[in-house]
């Protein structure tokens, strides 16, 4: 297994105001954004270290069209409240990255309108053209966008390293099972310290 800063990326999933800021739209649905903020310190540390090791950083952003015509089955049939609260509408403060995790010009931003960062996005073509083999994953929410993306990455034969203390979920049982399922068949589950040790040794 070869891990170096040429074949690895840090993938930061949906660290947006909507999910993390008390004034974000997720709080309007009664979700406890305090729980999701648990992912912030670990993610900040991974971003800072990735920059110092010159590991490319990809930020995903969950973004819907203002009228949600791109919401599909998920919005129309399963969670119509996402439209009611105007979750992550393109161009709004809600959809913007959380202030301490703002992308720099050299970072890659992938907009998506589905939980998986692979569906209908440019992520895979970026990864392949950069000859990426290893994806280090952090962000929110563990059981939804993180897990869907991790399942997709592993099935495409990217080696996935999940930072278990840099992800978070609003529901403890779903957090627990998300970690179990990903460790069982989709990812190597590590903590931030262990990931930085890997980057140090490479």
């Amino acid at each position: 297994m070869i891990i170096n800063n040429k074949n690895s990326v840090l993938l930061v999933i949906d660290m947006q105001n909507s999910f993390l800021h008390p004034d974000g739209t997720m709080s309007k649905l009664g979700f406890d954004c305090k729980k999701l903020r648990d992912a912030i310190p670990g993610t900040e540390e991974l971003v800072e270290k990735a920059r110092s090791f010159k590991i490319p950083i990809i930020f995903t952003q969950y973004v819907y069209h203002p009228d949600f015509k791109d919401g599909g089955w998920l919005v129309d049939e399963i969670s119509p409240e996402l439209r009611d609260i105007k979750l992550c509408v393109k161009g709004t403060w809600d959809a913007d990255n959380f202030e301490t995790l703002y992308p720099m010009k050299s970072d890659i931003i992938i907009e998506k309108n589905r939980p998986s960062a692979f569906i209908s996005t440019q992520l895979e073509s970026y990864l392949n053209s950069m000859s990426i083999e290893n994806i280090f994953v952090c962000g929110v929410t563990a059981n939804m966008c993180v897990e869907t993306t991790v399942r997709d990455a592993c099935q495409r034969d990217f080696r996935v390293f999940l930072a278990k203390d840099a992800i978070a979920e609003v529901d403890d049982a779903r957090m627990k099972v998300a970690l179990m399922a990903m460790e069982y068949f989709f990812a190597k589950v590590l903590n931030v310290r262990e990931i930085i040790d890997i980057w140090n040794k490479k």
Partner: protein, 205 residues
């Protein structure tokens, strides 16, 4: 709630193979309790029976690896090498066969796959689009892995996604329950065999 499944709907039966369900199968050799997975069989049998009667298309998926597992990728090589050791669902083996109770009949589609999702690197989506199938009723095993990965993929591709609670099963009850909760949260409507069959039986063929 499930009126949508009266038309342009298919029944997707995920991985109901000896490898997962037989007490001599690959999963049992790995130390998992295949009896827990067997709880999905009666529900799947009933759904298939009613789907045949009402001429609703049935698609079976079959988890299959090449005999030397060279197509296993990261999942087999690095995450779960036990799969290769017990030769889970190797092409041509009894392990890979769909169980007798659910033998596909002429005209029913079998989708081979070598990843948990029935959509990834398979011809499932092209088949569904060309047949103008917009809704999937999903049953089979295992709830948290192949069923859930497939349901997440179906929903994100905007198929109406219905997962049948009493026709799916997992080797761990906690993972089974929370998996259904996760699916219900953002991807699928969770229904019962009775919900589905009662709806289908009202259908005029």
């Amino acid at each position: 709630m499930i009126k949508n499944i009266l038309s342009d709907t298919a029944l997707l039966v995920v991985d109901m193979q000896n490898g997962f369900l037989s007490e001599k199968g690959g999963m049992a050799k790995l130390g998992f309790d295949s009896k827990l997975l067997n709880s999905s069989i009666p529900g799947c049998v009933e759904l298939v029976k009613v789907a045949r009667k009402k001429e609703i298309p049935i698609i079976f998926t079959q988890y299959l690896y090449e005999e030397d597992f060279r197509d296993g990728g990261i999942q087999v090589e690095e995450i779960f090498p036990g799969i290769k050791e017990v030769e889970l669902c190797a092409r041509g083996s009894n392990d890979a066969m769909i169980i007798d109770e659910l033998k596909p009949e002429n005209g029913e589609i079998i989708i081979e796959k070598n990843r948990p999702s029935s959509f990834y690197s398979t011809r499932l989506e092209a088949y569904l689009r060309s047949q103008r199938i917009n809704n999937l009723v999903i049953c089979g095993v295992t709830t948290n892995i192949c069923v859930e990965t497939t349901a997440r993929d179906a929903a994100q591709r905007d198929f109406g996604t219905y997962v049948v609670r009493d026709a799916v099963a997992e080797v761990d009850d906690f993972r089974h329950e929370i998996s259904l909760k996760a699916l219900e949260h953002m991807f699928a409507k969770i229904v019962t065999v009775k919900n589905v069959t009662e709806t289908w039986l009202k259908k005029n063929s």
